[in-house]
Symmetry: C2
Subunit: 400 residues, 2 copies
């Protein structure tokens, strides 16, 4: 297997022996696993048993890959340069086979249960569990007539939901990215802890968050065979576009009515928001702009207008989304918040696309918030910060 | 790596070509993954990309391992003989490295996020999602003064819990096995669907189920380093015994009060049950017999009395558990249900141990239910059947 761009960040094992105490097992590890471990500078050490392998690589997705070195005991080891704080997906490449590191818990991304490593951010407690009242994350199943199948969603209920039983709450629909699923926002994103902390500090209105499964097929349509078609391939992208329409129908025709029937929501557009990251941002624009009768708060995290972002064209505010943006004054009256975010270190294609969308909206006179996460890429640290900035702005104009 | 006991169950690829349509992707697969796939006879086909590997093995834990064959395209393939229905953990051994199959979702077992494959059982719908009212599975976090840390538990609330807000419910504490965690009973065991179906058919009283994390350390005690000490090793077993005492304190002093404060329970011993599988069964015996003031329904699934089961001694009913079993009449009056289960195909050591306990209890005149799951081993199909038999017997003698 050809590997391009492997950073040679290996330090000698002698160096490891000099500072054993500064490293701590990563928070993403399974219990008892001493590796991978991280020091206070964000350097990570990996150790993997593969006694008969001839080549082992730590296959990071958004930070430099690491070629490992075989030790006499059959373990392979490597130490990274400092890694930007946050959650990073990785797999291992062992003699050409892509697999996970059994030392790590798995996190669904790239269409698979992959490994991940959490690099702590000094001083950041907003996404950690704190001694504050906690909400619950509930697994629910609903029977979708659109998809012709049972579908799972996760629902965050704010602290006190079970106690203040006469109170009703606004709802944020919050979507994962392509290749991820409904577990991403809590497992990787820690959305529940972010909201617990924001609510405890009085900076955010208590709300329900619904995290849906972002793929759907209309009932009766066959499943696309994506064998050998990785995320990002033309076949996978086409399948996603086909799925987007089914997802739009499922969320608007089935899931929202289900949530409004089964949770104490305030079931009107003034108290309903939607946001999503990457693919979920594109879905958010599609769903909300096509259904402004249902939503009044809109967020696109590192992904928003789909072809507008990914292609080379500017947004034509007069025609886009059936003219939803054509009248800036009318739009501002109807949409209480339009929020866009991007990390300063995101891949050029995404960063340029988001900046172009931002500029297009400015030129068209469409009020919106544009947030840039300093130093972070197309990864969860960007999206945690997005949620921290976005959530406190929600439901402030609502009448109830 | 030396591999003993690999069953040579490979069939020719010509044979595969004759019946391509009879195989379906396993329900445990990630979306889009066509392999592993299963036919109606329970035969499974695996396909793994490892172009530069020299040996690849499907490393089942409780059914025969399968040595794979390299194909010209760089994929390795194998077809199994019929496999007993149910959920089976596996990993892959690629050139001596133990890893997961990225085609499969992961399931926490053996202290790692491992692969798993579901072999359907013809005619069995009791653990499938059905068109009946569904409960919720809630992730909760509680601050344990015993452990000095935040701990996660999963809580099943029965259908209607959020609607019938004046109603209170009995509680079953349900524990996973050694090497597993609090996710096991719903992900692998499908306990939520089993209860949904039992409740819908009127065969089971609506109840709350609490699934706790079965490991604990008393606050301030250092974590044992289990690097290179696999589950079942003396070091790991010793660490488990040390943890058992902390777990007993955590569940009785922290978790039960938390649940009774935060859920609409009926907070008395007549409406509180505990059961667990394997290690969780041993924990159940320890916790319930030491706290009969808290529990009146007790279940041991493929594991119960700890040393009594694993050792060679019979139960001395006069002295065991501080004399809790010494007076059969008093015991029968106090404990409404003592339930033991074992699969007929479990490893000899476990089966003999459970049968010895059953005999000891019979000889001591201790009333109990003894259930044998036909044809199944120390695996989740046994424990799904256990729960199906056990749950309907709960809270029938309760006064409320």
């Amino acid at each position: 297997m050809k590997l391009v761009g492997i950073a040679m960040l290996v330090v000698s094992s002698a160096c490891l022996a000099e500072e054993p105490d500064s490293y701590q097992p990563a928070a993403t590890n399974v219990w008892g696993a001493q590796y991978p471990r991280v020091d206070s500078n964000g350097r990570a050490q990996f150790r993997v048993k593969a006694p008969n392998a001839t080549k082992v690589v730590v296959n990071f997705w958004s930070v430099p890959k690491l070629e490992m070195t075989k030790q006499p005991d059959g373990f392979w080891t490597v130490t990274s340069a400092p890694i930007v704080p946050g959650f990073h997906y990785y797999t291992l490449l062992i003699d050409g086979a892509e697999v996970t590191d059994l030392n790590s818990h798995t996190f669904f991304g790239g269409g698979k249960d992959a490994s991940g490593i959490e690099i702590p951010e000094a001083g950041s407690t907003y996404y950690s569990i704190q001694d504050v009242p906690h909400g619950q994350v509930r697994e629910i199943w609903y029977n979708s007539k659109v998809a012709g199948s049972w579908r799972r969603a996760l629902v965050y209920t704010p602290p006190g939901y079970d106690v203040r039983t006469s109170e009703r709450f606004p709802v944020l629909y919050l979507q994962h990215g392509g290749g991820e699923d409904e577990t991403g926002w809590t497992k990787q994103g820690r959305a529940n802890f972010i909201l617990d902390n924001l609510i405890a500090s009085g900076n955010c209105r208590p709300m329900i968050i619904v995290m849906a499964y972002g793929y759907a097929r209309h009932a009766g349509r066959p499943a696309p065979d994506l064998t050998g078609k990785p995320f990002g391939s033309p076949e996978a992208m086409r399948a996603m576009e086909e799925m987007a329409s089914a997802f739009e129908d499922d969320i608007t025709q089935v899931l929202i009515p289900y949530i409004d029937s089964n949770f104490r929501t305030i079931p009107d557009r003034d108290h309903r928001a939607m946001a999503g990251l990457s693919m979920g941002g594109m879905q958010t624009f599609q769903v909300t702009f096509n259904h402004l009768d249902l939503f009044s708060y809109i967020g696109g995290f590192s992904g928003a207008a789909g072809p507008l972002v990914l292609g080379n064209e500017k947004l034509d505010a007069k025609t886009a989304y059936h003219g939803a943006l054509a009248d800036p004054a009318a739009f501002a009256k109807k949409v209480h918040l339009l929020w866009l975010g991007v990390g300063t270190e995101e891949p050029e294609r995404m960063r340029v696309g988001l900046l172009r969308l931002h500029t297009s909206l400015l030129e068209a006179g469409i009020q919106h918030v544009f947030y840039e996460s300093p130093g972070t890429s197309h990864e969860w640290q960007t999206w945690r910060r997005d949620l921290r900035d976005f959530a406190p702005r929600l439901f402030q104009q609502a009448t109830q």
